[in-house]
């Protein structure tokens, strides 16, 4: 016997799960249950760097980010969220430190501009006009997009969650999925520690744990967890407009609305679920800041933490159904840029589930691409 029943069960109460639930409800599919092991935004969403950028190297990542920016721009009204999601378009400045990287950036920018994303290629001097205290030693140039920016991941998730609830979605926090019952490739129920939910449709938005969830339905999903660390400083007066990224240093740093600086750097990481902080990270950040943005080493670091990228083999998301199991939908594998594309992912998954079609062709992002050998590697990932 099942304690609950739902037309759709969304597994994971991060920004993606909440966006999917809201968009489903918007389309009249209101008998939805979101199952979250902890509390909303307690996993990768709440631990992310909060950036929203459109400067990617694959067409689909660019399009997903561009469409999400359009939603972020009107999100407070769209979700009727009074505190606001704090979306600010202060730009992303991406630095190039070699001719090879600069050549890749030229290709990226040509692609981005062809997709209607206004990205400029800047000389070193032009980059200095935007961030005057940048140490440009060894720098070849930079790209800049002034509609990139950042938003508050907590408020964004709460905004989607509350809007979904108002439309009738049930959100079960502190609830762990322990199994998925499948018969003849059809889903029968999602089993949790708070009872069984009868359903025939599941959306797997479990981030780094999506592989574990898929396994419960007998699906071998190539998604794994990879630790990434962040630190935040004391708040100070506005000093730096855009997010500064260097793929060469595997580094990003930005100043938030609140005044604190926040950033991270890539370190070699094994696959896993470890989210402990390390001293090594703090040292690498301090050394890299001294090299790239020297005055900012005078700031005090108040906190550091870690979260997980939900990595996929080609650093692009895995979206859509995965045959032979019917109505098991994936929305995971975002590889460190899930927060920024969540708004459009919510729309596309809800379209797919309610109509079988999507307004943007995401068929290339299905799980089948790995078996077909049709991977399109995203070259622009930090970490």
């Amino acid at each position: 016997m099942s304690e609950y029943s739902a037309d759709v069960v969304v597994i994971g109460g991060g920004v993606v799960g909440c966006a999917v639930a809201f968009e489903l409800a918007q389309r009249g599919c209101t008998n939805v249950i979101v199952v979250e092991r902890g509390t909303l935004a307690c996993g990768s969403t709440g631990r992310c760097g909060a950036g929203v950028r459109q400067q990617f190297g694959t067409e689909l990542n660019c399009v997903l980010a561009r469409e999400s920016v359009r939603i972020f721009e009107k999100m407070d009204e769209y979700l009727d969220y009074e505190p606001g999601v704090e979306f600010r378009q202060s730009g992303y400045l991406i630095l190039a430190f070699s001719d090879k990287q600069w050549d890749q950036f030229k290709k990226n920018v040509a692609l981005q501009r062809s997709l209607g994303i206004d990205v400029k290629m800047l000389t070193v001097d032009e980059a200095l006009e935007i961030v005057p205290f940048l140490n440009t030693e060894g720098m070849v140039g930079a790209t800049f997009c002034n509609t990139d920016g950042f938003a508050n991941p907590f408020h964004t998730t709460f905004a989607y969650g509350q809007a979904a609830k108002r439309l009738g979605v049930r959100i079960m926090t502190h609830t762990t999925v322990t199994g998925i019952e499948v018969e003849n490739d059809r889903i029968k129920a999602v089993v949790t520690d708070k009872g069984k939910i009868a359903t025939d449709t599941v959306v797997n938005c479990a981030g780094a744990y999506s592989g574990d969830i898929a396994k419960m339905a007998g699906i071998d999903l190539p998604v794994w967890g990879e630790r990434h660390q962040i630190l935040v400083t004391e708040p100070v007066e506005p000093l730096m407009g855009p997010m500064v990224i260097s793929f060469h240093h595997d580094f990003y740093f930005q100043q938030s609305v609140h005044g604190s600086f926040l950033g991270g750097i890539g370190l070699p990481e094994p696959k896993g679920y470890n989210i402990m902080s390390t001293v090594e990270f703090l040292e690498r950040m301090a050394a890299t800041l001294k090299q790239l943005l020297p005055p900012l080493t005078q700031l005090r670091v108040v906190r550091q933490w870690a979260g997980l990228y939900d990595r996929s083999p080609d650093a692009q998301p895995i979206l859509g159904e995965c045959p032979p199991v019917e109505k098991f939908y994936n929305a995971n594998g975002f590889s460190g840029h899930g927060f920024m594309v969540a708004p459009i992912v919510g729309v596309l998954l809800a379209e797919l589930i309610t109509t079988g079609k999507t307004s943007i062709d995401i068929s290339k992002l299905d799980m089948g691409r790995f078996a077909r050998g049709e991977l399109v590697f995203e070259p622009s990932v930090v970490g």
Partner: protein
Amino acid sequence: MPENPRPDDNTIICRCEDITLGEIRALIAQGYTTIDEIKRVSRAGMGQCQGRTCRQLIAREIAQALGITVEQVELPQFRPPTRPIVLSTIVEGEGNE
């Protein structure tokens, strides 16, 4: 002296982020019933002192609202460093504090 069974709503609970008891109570009423959730939605506990003052006070409010003991309130993770450090002092060979 008139009896004052509950502190005033204007009492500052989180001094770093300037958050009042009234705001905390309003968030609990909205369904934010763990210290972590209140931190995420309001920044209470994210400032210089990392919640050393407000954490206990917020736990007490949650316990009162839910009718549980303070010990039953979910505790958040303490995050490093324990106190704010100037970044330049961490760079090898650069320490001067």
